[in-house]
Point group: C2
Chain length 475, copies 2
């Protein structure tokens, strides 16, 4: 896309290059707005826009009354070690443990580090709530009839728009709206497999997708991941050589639970592997729009030439999960996906779809995601600081590239299932690592959420958690 840069973008570009080349380094004060106005001969608001852009990118930070400074870059922590799951197809277990976490009542008194819930208190969500309320007042009848089985056209059109940011050229007819990403994943799994087939997944990976594999009578083969680069393509290739794998289910951009984003080059290689072994890719992009990078990373789907990628997403992580609006870009599996979505739950309710469509079209979705990305990035840096300070030595932490969850790997002698059990009587809640394995591995790991605590609450939660862990030294 050869587009001419706007004035403020040109200025932002110059400043960005100056930071990247080291002309300005961390902590340096940047030129004042006045200086830049005269240097570039532009208006104050243009310079402000340029600074705002760089702030959004996390490159610079505003300090009240002092001006703009180059942001401190967080050093990545000691990263978790590449996982080494069994390289053979297995039945997924762990349902009872997942169920227990799902049934856990929210306790407002607790520091909630357990669920992958976004921050829902930010003011940038209010246009959505206002629109829903307005629709309910003015057009309540739209809630009553069945809607198009593929979903409301107005929403599909807007999803086409946002998908361009991840490099996808879609058409509204290529989309099927679902009840969240969970339904999207379940439907896609059933569309590309037959019972007893083998599906490759990242290890660790989201328990909802593994349970969907179980419920579809499939077997999982867990492919090791590296907390920096994501899925091990070497291990995947070995597995593909050895087993008749039918599909691979991946979360390559802002992974749950690790937080990594695979590089564009690796995404391309993954796609090529899928091509040469003729398997399909179910790509879960649920956190993609709250990547800290700007522009957001491309999806594997953006390289899809022959329709073998089924892109799944929802607004559960970027907006709010209770809205239950998700979608599939099913590529060549469109008819099968439409069939299975229909039998799975028939149509989705109209009103939330219209509200989300309006939220996107009005620009409020872009504003909201820009805002929360910054908030989450700060949360990540703070949480990592707290963990480094309070957890036992030997603790390794993933370094998420977006979203609001990270993965903690303790020394092997610690047992997070025990920590989890004890945490029920404490003021903090966690998700034990075992949930993210098909067979209860990662017993020394856990996933923590950093979406909506104040710094104080977060640190208190981490101190409490550290104490629970350290108790095991006395066992």
């Amino acid at each position: 896309m050869a587009t001419t840069l706007k004035l403020y973008e040109q200025i932002a570009k110059v400043l960005r290059e100056n930071i990247h080349t080291g002309l300005f380094v961390e902590g340096d004060k940047l030129p004042s707005i006045r200086q830049l106005v005269s240097e570039f001969e532009v208006s104050i608001s243009t310079v402000q826009q340029a600074y705002h852009q760089l702030e959004m990118e996390g490159l610079i930070e505003a300090r009240p009354k002092s001006g703009y400074f180059v942001a401190h870059k967080m050093d990545s922590p000691d990263l978790p070690i590449t996982s080494r799951p069994a390289q053979r197809p297995i039945e997924v277990s762990q349902w009872q443990d997942v169920l227990e976490v799902l049934l856990a009542k929210e306790d407002k008194q607790k520091v909630q580090l357990q669920h992958a819930m976004p921050n829902m208190k930010v003011s940038s969500l209010s246009p959505l709530l206002k629109k829903m309320s307005w629709l309910m007042r003015q057009q309540a009848e739209i809630s009553l009839p069945y809607c198009d089985i593929k979903g409301t056209l107005a929403l599909r059109e807007q999803i086409v728009e946002i998908a361009t940011y991840s490099g996808c050229v879609l058409h509204p007819d290529d989309l099927v709206i679902t009840s969240g990403c969970q339904e999207a994943l379940s439907v896609c799994l059933r569309a590309v497999t037959e019972p007893a087939d083998i599906v490759a997944v990242e290890s660790p990976s989201f328990y909802g997708s593994m349970q969907a594999i179980k419920a579809a009578n499939l077997k999982a083969i867990e492919i090791p991941t590296n907390s920096e680069n994501g899925l091990s393509l070497e291990a995947l290739e070995l597995a593909l050589e050895q087993w008749p794998i039918k599909a691979i289910l991946v979360t390559p951009t802002v992974n749950n639970p690790m937080g990594f984003s695979m590089s564009e080059a690796d995404k391309k290689r993954l796609y090529q592997l899928a091509q040469s072994y003729d398997i399909s890719i179910i790509e879960d992009d649920i956190y993609g729009d709250i990547s800290y990078q700007s522009p957001r990373p491309k999806t594997i789907k953006s390289f899809d030439e022959d329709g073998r990628v089924l892109l799944c997403s929802s607004f559960s992580k970027s907006v709010a999960p209770g809205i239950r609006v998700g979608w599939i870009a099913p590529g060549r599996y469109r008819d099968k996906v439409t069939h299975i979505k229909y039998v799975s739950s028939s149509m989705c309710p109209t009103l939330p779809q219209l509200a989300i469509a309006d939220f996107i079209q009005s620009g409020a979705y872009a504003r909201h995601t820009r805002k929360v990305r910054l908030l989450y990035k700060q949360g990540r840096d703070h949480l990592i600081q707290c963990i480094k300070q309070h957890f036992p030595i030997g603790t390794r932490i993933s370094f998420p590239q977006g979203g609001y969850i990270l993965w903690v790997e303790l020394d092997k002698r610690y047992d997070t299932v025990k920590v989890y059990a004890q945490s029920k009587k404490s003021t903090v809640s966690i998700a034990p690592g075992t949930l993210f394995s098909a067979t209860g591995k990662f017993r020394h790991c856990m996933r923590l959420n950093f979406s909506e605590k104040t710094a104080l609450e977060r640190e208190q939660g981490i101190i409490e958690l550290a104490n629970l862990i350290k108790q095991q030294d006395n066992d």
Copy 2:
């Protein structure tokens, strides 16, 4: 339940008996309110309540300025002949045809006889819309987080209440809320079967359940039904003897597409058959609450001693389909059902659940269903009259005991798939009989809706349809 009758109920009982014993016959004028006030020594409003009750039961009718009369009983029309489907397990086909009907855009100019849509213009729905609007205004935030995976407790409590009218004693923990009855059926099918299992269904039966059977990699065996008594228990028993049937999926109360309700005795026999062959029953009760009978017929679930019945329903037919609130009482399959519901679409949105809970608790649901039942019964009688008058001789019509759809069987020489194709360019829309067979049988049948047309529109639609049919006499 030994309860003492209220005053108005006692009076209604006396009058009812007088009608049943023939003291008053069809068309007779009933005593005036004044007469009964002095005869029973009660208040005017008590007599009015008694008459209102009998009116709701369809026994009597009010004529403006003249008083109350014994209602005209509709003679049942010439009924369709018992279907004779192949008695062996088969793969379900017909998806392309179902899809075409699902994708058909609603055309407000047309007389819609095609979709099983309830009347959504009745004023008795407005408390629901008002509550949804109020919730959105006052408690918009409840739309944002995930809700309990089994559904909102307030709703499950209310469903326990309404289920008592069908003879069921349930507990909120025995219920799982779903995205409509379609998800309920799909989840239950997957919970009680393994791929390649055989499921018995009524023939004809609802295309959504048959497509769910297909998508779950199951085979269907179609059991003949009789338009008066429902499923042929003899044929079912033969099939059970011959094939390893795993479950039976039935709509025994106000069947779609036939409209019959099986007798209580037959429901019990069906349950006993399931017991002796140790199979489970998936009971679709989606139209049960809009049965014309009062009190409504009992469910098979009400006889369930060992938890083998999975009762499925939703508010799509009794209230409005766009609300997408359904439920399962899964009996002994609770854990499996909870698992599959979770992977299928995770939680359901909270707001519609709360609104429906309030609609029930306030009594508005009971008022609404009482009102539409009467409306639909009048619709049925009128539609049957129109068909008798305009359709070719030899036409047979089912005589629904509730709901707003009926089944028309034409002489074998007519082809409703052709009628359906031609109707696309006409002012009327129909559902061809082939959709209700696993393999495209019932080509001389169709299902017609009578939920919300005026008498004039309905008759015009039927005349147009009759012309399309009669054109085939010249082919």
